[in-house]
Structures are given as structure tokens and as C-alpha cells.
């Protein structure tokens, strides 16, 4: 496996050769920021097109195919359009909060990128509470949504924000608990260590039953967390026009739109990290030559591939199921997912204690 951490080290050494340490670090920070933003927007554009194409194929349609080859530039055109669209400022709104909300939402999803293991050594921050950090920052998003709904001074957005508050706070629990289950198994919160612990077998195989249960719950809760169908109540089109972002136009709306897709990536990326070994190739103990061949596929491809496949599943949910009602959504969480999750955690502990795992 190629260790990507060599590249930043080389850059660091190169910068140090003619700059003092503080300047080198500053330059690196700026570089990382630029790369992150670029990556962020490119990934979002890709995801938008990805979903539009997939949903088109589910619906026996073709999807965008006129702008650029195979419609590849469709979301780029959308981005140009949305960038220069008018930003409507409204009377009787809380202007500061109104403008702040989309940035909070985008910030939440962008911060999670900091601890994502993109490939072997390709990680911005690696610290011992990586997973904890990820959970913490991803829940800033709900604040942005609540603020957006509140500050717009519109009844639809208010109802949308209320719904999303109730929904996201509830499902945060499930996500937390299923992540906790896996953290208990891994014995660490460091992202790198979790990935390395899966060198011989991905957790979904090595921790078998509880891991599978945790994975299913994680996927359900993750879908709810990203406000996607069948849990897209906060922006239920047929009920609340556009939910909490009804009043947003131009790039502010663009931020919500991008954040939705980036959250999709984050959720599936974390699922890949916790259950499918992050960037770790598929290794089967004993099959040395097979493992060796797998190692030839770059780690970035492994990670992105897993994330895309998992997001495909979430997109599949959206285009298949009808939407739930608010009381049903909360019943599902509090009466089913949470108790199952708690039992699952106990099960996992038993498996760890009695060493029943592979």
C-alpha cells in the first residue's frame, strides 16, 4: 500500500528548506484549506449528478445527458447558475441568523472531512478521539437547520425546522450508540487505529451479528440524519413546499443543497470506515496472493468506492419508499431502534468479553 503521508512530509520538508517553521505551517494550512474546498465542491457536484442519474435509471429515464458528454457537466452548469442567482433579502427576518444558517450547515459537513481517512495516510487530522470529533461536529448541522427555519419568519420553514429538530436529535442517539458499539469492538476512537484494526477482516465480518445489526441501524439512522427520503420530513416537498430552506435563494440555497449531498457522503464514508475497513483493501486471512492483488488497488479508490456503493444504497431508499409521518418516525426511533441498539451493545460487549469474534 502506498503511504500517502509521504507527500505532505515531502512538502513540509520542501517548505522548511526556505521558510521558518511558522510560515511553513501557515502555508500548509492554506493549501489544505484550498484542497479541502475544491474536493468538497467537486465531490458535491459529482454526487448531485450521481443521484440524478441513479434516480433516472430507477424511473426508466435517462437523466441529464445533454450538457457535456453524457451530461457530466450538468451539475457544473447548475453551480454557475446558482452562484450568480439573486440573493433575496427579506423584510421582518433576523438577517444575521438568516445569513448564518447555511454557513453553519456547510461548516458541519466540512469539519467532518477533517478526520475522514481518504487513503493510507491521507488524512488531515489524526487524533485519538477522531470518531468522537466526527459525531460532535456533524451535529452542528441541526443548529443551522433550526436557525434557518426560525429566522425565515415563515410558517412552513418553522414547521420544517421543528420536525428536523425532533428527528435529528432522536436519530443522533442511534448513530451514537451504533458507533459506540463499533468503538467498543475496536477498543479505540482513533480513526487510523480503527482502520488498521480491520487489516485482516473488516469489522462487519469479524464482529458478525452485532456488527450487522449495528450497520443496519446506522444506515437507517444515517439516512434520517441526512434528511433524505423516506425520512425527508423537514423538507417534505408535498407537505411543506421546501421545508426549512423555503425562503433561501441563490448560493444560500446552494449551500443547503450541497450540504445534503455532502452529508450523504459523510454518512456513507463513516459507515465504510466503521464496518467496511475504511481505505483498507479486502483481505482474507490465508489467501496471501489474493490479498496481495487487492493491495494493488490504491487505498483512495477503496475508500471512495465503498462510500459510493453505500450512498447508492441510501439513494435507493429514497427513490423506493414513501415518506414516513412524524409520529411514525419518532416511534421507529424510540420504540424500536434505540432498544435494539442497547441490546446490541450488550451483545457486542459479551462477544468481546468471551472473544467470540473472528
Amino acid at each position: 500500500m502506498y503511504d500517502f503521508s509521504l507527500i505532505p512530509e515531502a512538502i513540509h520538508a520542501f517548505l522548511l528548506s526556505f521558510l521558518p517553521n511558522w510560515a511553513a505551517v501557515t502555508v500548509e494550512c492554506v493549501l489544505i484549506g484550498v484542497v479541502l474546498l475544491l474536493l468538497y465542491s467537486v465531490l458535491a457536484l459529482f454526487y448531485i449528478l450521481y443521484e440524478r442519474k441513479i434516480c433516472a435509471y430507477f424511473q426508466c429515464r435517462l437523466g441529464p445527458n445533454r450538457v457535456g458528454p453524457w451530461g457530466l457537466l450538468q451539475s457544473v452548469a447548475d453551480m454557475f447558475k446558482i452562484l450568480i442567482k439573486e440573493l433575496i433579502s427579506l423584510k421582518y427576518t433576523d438577517k444575521f441568523l438568516f445569513a448564518l444558517a447555511p454557513y453553519l450547515v456547510i461548516l458541519a459537513s466540512m469539519l467532518t472531512f477533517a478526520v475522514m481517512p481518504w487513503g493510507n495516510g491521507l488524512q488531515i487530522l489524526d487524533f485519538n478521539i477522531g470518531i468522537f470529533f466526527l459525531l460532535a461536529v456533524s451535529s452542528i448541522g441541526v443548529l443551522g437547520i433550526l436557525l434557518a427555519g426560525w429566522s425565515s419568519n415563515n410558517k412552513f420553514t418553522l414547521i420544517g425546522a421543528m420536525r428536523s429538530g425532533a428527528q435529528m436529535v432522536s436519530y443522533e442517539l442511534s448513530i451514537g450508540l451504533s458507533v459506540l458499539t463499533m468503538v467498543a469492538f475496536a477498543g479505540t476512537m482513533s480513526v487510523t487505529e480503527i482502520v488498521h484494526a480491520q487489516e485482516n477482516a473488516w469489522f462487519i465480518f469479524s464482529a458478525h451479528v452485532p456488527a450487522v445489526i449495528a450497520f443496519v441501524i446506522y444506515m437507517i439512522a444515517g439516512t434520517a440524519e441526512t434528511n433524505r427520503g423516506p425520512f425527508d420530513l423537514p423538507e417534505a416537498e408535498s407537505e411543506l413546499t421546501a421545508g426549512y430552506h423555503t425562503e433561501y435563494s441563490g448560493i444560500h440555497f446552494g449551500f443547503f443543497y450541497l450540504a445534503e449531498y455532502l452529508n450523504l457522503f459523510v454518512v456513507s464514508g463513516v459507515a465504510a470506515l466503521l464496518f467496511f475497513g475504511g481505505w483498507m483493501p479486502l483481505h482474507i486471512p490465508g489467501w496471501e496472493s489474493f490479498n496481495h492483488i487487492m493491495d494493488y488497488i490504491p487505498s483512495v479508490v477503496w475508500f471512495l468506492g465503498k462510500a459510493f456503493v453505500l450512498s447508492f444504497i441510501i439513494i435507493w431508499f429514497k427513490w423506493t419508499f414513501p415518506r414516513l409521518r412524524i409520529d411514525q418516525i419518532l416511534t421507529l426511533e424510540w420504540k424500536y431502534l434505540l432498544p435494539i441498539n442497547l441490546v446490541n451493545l450488550v451483545l457486542m460487549v459479551l462477544i468481546i468479553v468471551y472473544e467470540l469474534h473472528l
Partner: protein, 198 residues
């Protein structure tokens, strides 16, 4: 899609010529081109339908005619996020202020397609006491699309013409013909309580 493939509308041809005659500088011109490329290829409709034409608009989104091919399938329910209104169906007196309000809620740049005979001129309900004889009495219209209801093919054609029109717009410098038209229209058609919000 090649520009020449839909070069069949005389009115727009003359408009293009008029704009090109003015001349423009290279940097601004190419920036304009980029912006117009983005705008013309990403026109999101507002989900707005009053009657029969709306059902044909649904057919337009369905698998057979699939407007997603052109990137028009992102129908937004909130006017703030949409680019054009397809006035699909009859506009009656009671609906008129609502349509105007929706138009004012759209974020710039905004366009209107009068879709179907009713929206163009009142159509079969010309004799009615409660029908607005053409939605151009309330909002400025960019493309008129006749038919009762127009077939989905015709709808595709009309949105392509709109896209064409956007392509020759001017973002920087020069007099933006459309904006001027729109301004004049809004000044001559004031609506209390709607216009003064802007």
C-alpha cells in the same frame, strides 16, 4: 447541444443580431459566455400548474419525454429557488394576484413561459367573466407556447427557445434588453402590496 441545431426562430435571430451588433470586449464577453452557458443549461421550473397543461407538464417529466435530459427536472416548489414559471393553465381573476406574487418571489434571473392557449390569450374561455385574457397582463412573458394543451414535444421546444434566449443575454456591461423590458413592464403594471416589497 450545438447552437445551430435550434436556429429556427426568426424573432430570436433578430434579437441575437441586435445584441451582437453592439460589440463587446473580449474578457467580459467570454465571462458572459460562461455565465450564460451555466444559466441556459440549468433552468429549473417552479412546480406551478393550474389545469390541463399541468398534466402535460407531468408527462414531460415522465419517462417518455424526460425533461431530465436537459437538466430541467429539478422542479422546485419554492419560488425562491426556481428559474422560470411555466404558466401551465388558465389564470383567473382570483389567481392573478397570486401569480404575480409568485413571479415577484422568484429570484433573478427569472423567466416566464405562457403555456397553452389560456395563458397566452384566454383561449377557449375568451367569453368568460372570470378569466384573465392572457397572463401577459400580469407578468412579463418570455416565451408564448400555443396549444390546448401543448404537446410535451412543444413544451420541450418552448423551454429550448427560452434557453436560447438566455444564451444571448448580457450579464456585464451594455444594456440588458430583458431587464429593461421587465422593468418597464413592472412599472406599467404596479401591484399594491406586492411591488413595494421589492
Amino acid at each position: 447541444m450545438p447552437y445551430d441545431a435550434w436556429k429556427d426562430n426568426e424573432y430570436i435571430e433578430s434579437l441575437v443580431k441586435e445584441l451582437k451588433d453592439n460589440g463587446t470586449n473580449v474578457i467580459v464577453g467570454s465571462l458572459d459566455k460562461l455565465i450564460n452557458w451555466g444559466r441556459s443549461n440549468s433552468i429549473w421550473p417552479l412546480t406551478f400548474a393550474t389545469s390541463c397543461c399541468g398534466i402535460e407538464f407531468v408527462s414531460l417529466g415522465a419517462a417518455r419525454y424526460d425533461m431530465a435530459r436537459f437538466g430541467w427536472e429539478v422542479a422546485r416548489s419554492s419560488p425562491r429557488q426556481a428559474d422560470f414559471i411555466m404558466v401551465a393553465g388558465t389564470i383567473v381573476h382570483r389567481m392573478a394576484p397570486v401569480l404575480r406574487r409568485l413571479y415577484d418571489q422568484l429570484a433573478e434571473p427569472k423567466y416566464v413561459i405562457a403555456c397553452g392557449a389560456c395563458a397566452v390569450s384566454g383561449g377557449p374561455f375568451k367569453k368568460s367573466y372570470h378569466v384573465v385574457m392572457g397572463c401577459d397582463q400580469i407578468v412579463p412573458v418570455d416565451v408564448y407556447l400555443p396549444g390546448c394543451p401543448p404537446r410535451p414535444e412543444a413544451m420541450i421546444y418552448s423551454i429550448m427557445q427560452l434557453s436560447r434566449k438566455i444564451k444571448v443575454e448580457r450579464f456585464f456591461g451594455g444594456v440588458n434588453r430583458r431587464e429593461k423590458m421587465q422593468k418597464e413592464f413592472l412599472e406599467s403594471h404596479p401591484i399594491e402590496g406586492v411591488n413595494d416589497v421589492k
